[in-house]
Symmetry: C3
Subunit: 427 residues, 3 copies
């Protein structure tokens, strides 16, 4: 048994302490660690660049941040947990009383033990996040605030890996690298994506599809990437996923594309159904990540998202409780395997056509019993059904659904029929 679950978990442990954001050195560091595993290209785009309706923001870097009380004790300390600082906080240094400080504090009264995750990318602001319990302990007095950050023209950094297949049709995977120390959302995403890319590189000899993997900051990153590769993505991508929230032990969740009936929707639901595992299917109305950009009108990329517990649906989401205890090696492995299954379905699903009119004579090829009996065995029935329905219009997935079998169990038969010259690709 391989130990991919543990390996992924170890990678996540390395990445966890790094403070990532839309931009900055934390992102560069993260991508460089991933590069130890798979040959990604690390690319940059400059601040201020117009991308569709947006503009790449200034680069943000952070050295230190804290709030000290009267006695010089750090009552909030970025170094203890990078969630304590509101993301993209501008540099600040000053003293103030508790009332003034409170205008800059964020906490969750309903989850009083947890530090919330808050950002302010496009409005200049500074702030601190802390647990509501901690906040209630703050006493009247003068506080010293220091945020040693920089927010200046720089770059947005992202990673890209393209694995060429026989076809220039693409399967597309997008994951994000812009959250500080949170494990399920987000680190499970880049970690599983990395190992999935590695699987294709090492285990699929000559893939049919070209596989594109990108590691970007959410929203602005996908907008940058789409604007840069508009023609290629809108013309060549046949299916894809946003990979996120994929490391917790919850059941799988599949979020459909905007059009709801695309190849990726059919493949995902088919595969989940035949996996015998628990899963939920969400409508595009429940979307929340980069599928928003990929599926936008005029872009129309057929991108879904396979998660475990969906963002917004688990209590730990966007808090300090989304930590390394919340994700499990076993779940990471299970998720990686599910994505491998999906890839195998894409690779095996084609439109086939029989090469002969009427049924072929299977008996002379040793594929059909040469003596009649009252019952025909199941594999022969599957073969006859494949032959009957491979009409050059329906894909193998359609046939698998029709006869209610996993497509994986039909691929072997298809290969046999191709070898016999009885089936050919029609797509």
């Amino acid at each position: 048994m391989n130990n991919f679950g543990d390996e992924m978990y170890s990678l996540m442990e390395r990445l966890f302490p790094i403070c990532r954001s839309l931009t900055g050195n934390g992102n560069r560091k993260t991508l460089n660690i991933l590069k130890e595993y798979i040959p990604i290209d690390i690319k940059e785009e400059p601040s201020g660049k117009k991308v569709f309706d947006w503009e790449i923001p200034n680069e943000w870097n952070i050295k230190d941040a804290y709030v000290k009380d009267n006695n010089g004790v750090k009552v909030i300390d970025f170094k203890k947990n990078n969630l304590h600082l509101v993301g993209y906080s501008e540099p600040f240094e000053g003293e103030m009383n508790l009332k003034e400080l409170n205008d800059h504090l964020f906490s969750l009264p309903d989850q009083p033990d947890l530090i919330p995750y808050v950002t302010s990318y496009y409005e200049k602001r500074w702030g601190f996040c802390l647990s509501d319990n901690q906040r209630k302990n703050l006493k009247e007095g003068i506080y010293e605030v220091k945020i040693d950050s920089t927010l200046e023209p720089g770059h947005l950094t992202y990673g890209e890996l393209i694995i060429n297949g026989k076809s220039d049709e693409e399967i597309f995977f997008s994951t994000y690298i812009c959250h500080p120390s949170m494990a399920n959302n987000e680190l499970s995403g880049p970690v599983v994506t990395t190992f999935l890319a590695d699987y294709i590189l090492k285990s699929i000899e000559k893939p049919y599809y070209t596989y594109r993997f990108i590691f970007i900051p959410e929203t602005i990153g996908s907008i940058v990437y789409i604007s840069k590769h508009f023609k290629q993505l809108t013309k060549k991508v046949r299916a894809g996923y946003v990979i996120t929230c994929i490391g917790d032990p919850g059941p799988f969740s599949y979020l459909k594309t905007r059009k709801e009936d695309q190849l990726v929707d059919r493949v995902s639901i088919h595969t989940l159904r035949h996996s015998k595992k628990k899963y939920k299917v969400y409508d595009f109305l429940a979307r929340g990540s980069d599928e928003r950009q990929y599926n936008a009108p005029g872009i129309d990329m057929p991108i879904g998202s396979l998660m475990r517990s969906k963002y917004g649906e688990y209590a730990e989401y966007h808090t300090s409780a989304d930590n390394l205890n919340f994700v499990k090696p076993f779940s990471l492995l299970d998720s990686l395997n599910m994505y491998k299954s999906l890839i195998n379905v894409f690779e095996n699903n084609h439109i086939y056509k029989t090469t002969v009119l009427c049924e072929p004579q299977l008996g002379k090829r040793g594929l059909y019993p040469n003596i009649s009996t009252k019952k025909t065995n199941e594999q022969v029935i599957d073969m006859m059904n494949i032959i009957a329905y491979c009409d050059g219009e329906k894909d193998l997935l359609w046939i698998a659904e029709k006869i209610d079998k996993p497509i994986s169990s039909l691929s072997i038969i298809v290969d046999k029929l191709i070898d016999e010259g009885l089936l050919v690709w029609s797509d």
Copy 2:
């Protein structure tokens, strides 16, 4: 609170005593009263004119009609209730015994207190209608019958009002003015239609659609009107209603178009569903009025009918019990308001397209919170959904149905996005 309910009821009280039919002075009088409210054109077509498979019948006018018994007592008297006379009765004067008279009498054994409504437009005939109780009291003896009517070449009279909109695409309303003293079927129809036209004239500044209202005798009137405006109606009418049976306190009834999935069907059912009022939906198989002509093959106008208690479905229908007690000012007002809602849906429902690729940056326009939080508010979600689904193919109604909101609640958001230059009309 306005008093449209009472005003409509008063108008109905004025119109109630008039004896209307397919043709004749009662129809002229009715239209002239409506003209006091809205600027309808009163038009005429001559008897004998061929219209498709039909011919406009002679004009019928009636001064008096009665049956007197042995003692010269009027036992049936048109002047007491114009339902007593079979519609389009030819002139007649004569004496006869009860047996002979009985061949010309109509009553309802199952509803023995009520006078039925009977007509014989296309077969020359005369007759009287009376309650079954009254009929049973008629004794053997000689009766004197007099029908002082004329049935001669003349005209068919109808009213028309066209309110021009920005577009030459039309919303079409048809109501009928050919029944004698009955309140729900028919007077509620022309009365609500009149006030609806008045509403558009006074309250919708620059309507998108052109609105056409016609006041016609049933069947022959719609055939005359279609034959005269064939090209315009079949090319330009986008939706419409036959307005009838709209004044009683029963729940709403919507009768679908022949094709069942037209814009008017979608708009009507959406609006009824979100009204939180009770309603029933009928298939076109339950049709019975001029929608029969409008939806006929080759005409194919997408015309439904929004009623309250549908003709044929309430006991008072086509009897003397369909009187001023059966309709209520409140119901008339409620019906008028429902039709106003429908018009507002038509006016607001268009196909929109986003002007930018990917999601627009709403934050810089103050349309999106500039700080991240765990939950997004509902109006922002609606806005994001409108942006995600406005793909230049689906209309706003489709989106409203998709997100299960009344379209009225989305129009404000659409207007805001249009103002920001983020949405444009695509139809």
Copy 3:
């Protein structure tokens, strides 16, 4: 009352003893008996001829076959029941012990009283079938085996009857004549088919459709026939049936075409539903006879199969229990009548179009009551519905389904409207 049930049963009694197979004199004899009833052409194709992926096998004829025990007693005797011999057994003569003999014996442990039906068309082999009880009684010892068969180049024989209609569009019936003594599968098939063809010849004066009937050996026969008439069949056949398993008292079974929504599927299910008889509908996945070839990709003939108890679904199937006791004259008659009903639906189902715009004036033609009443009678409603929906796009069957009436009840009205010049064919 006619006695077609008894007549069909008698014909079956004559055909039952004949030993049919893919080829041979039994088939010729069978077809010659059918020719006494209907004017079929008997045709032949030579052994060795290539047909698509297949080759016509050698002709098989059988004079005698038996197994004798030590004492010269025939313990298995083809002359007692032709199922005792494996179909297409090659000639053989020799002695062997029980163990060696057993390699050539077939029996059914689960149905120990019955002789199974076994064939080996495409693999040279010989064998005997017997009941499992009989087999258990065979004692150790030397057995004498004799199979006096020939398996040599010859012909494949089939029958064909074409009844020309006004149109060159075809309704196609296929039945098979390749099973030895079994009654439901197969003799009910050719027997009912023969009487159905006779019905069309004698009772339908000028059929609209051209009717094609073929009597073939299963699989190889349909492949031969399709390959010979490829263009005609794939272009002109509008609907059709494989007729088999149609003589037992079980409820009807309809097996759908591959595409599942063809005219024949709609007609069959409509007719069964309105017959008030019990029936089952099977998906194409349950197929098992020549519909496999007719519906194959590239052939795409819309052929279903109306059976009673479907092959493989009844215990007597492919055993000596599928005998003359299993089929009933009444069931044969009932089946014949159902096929007659189907033909009548095909003949009456066309796309019609009204000749006038708006509703025609039916009153002047005596087709509509000339006095108004509260209720309209049902036949008038049907007429109005036919007029409303005959739009030149939907066929009469669509309308019958829409108003939930048997199409047979509408044909009379359609004929009346055609006579009045109000409807015309549009297909």
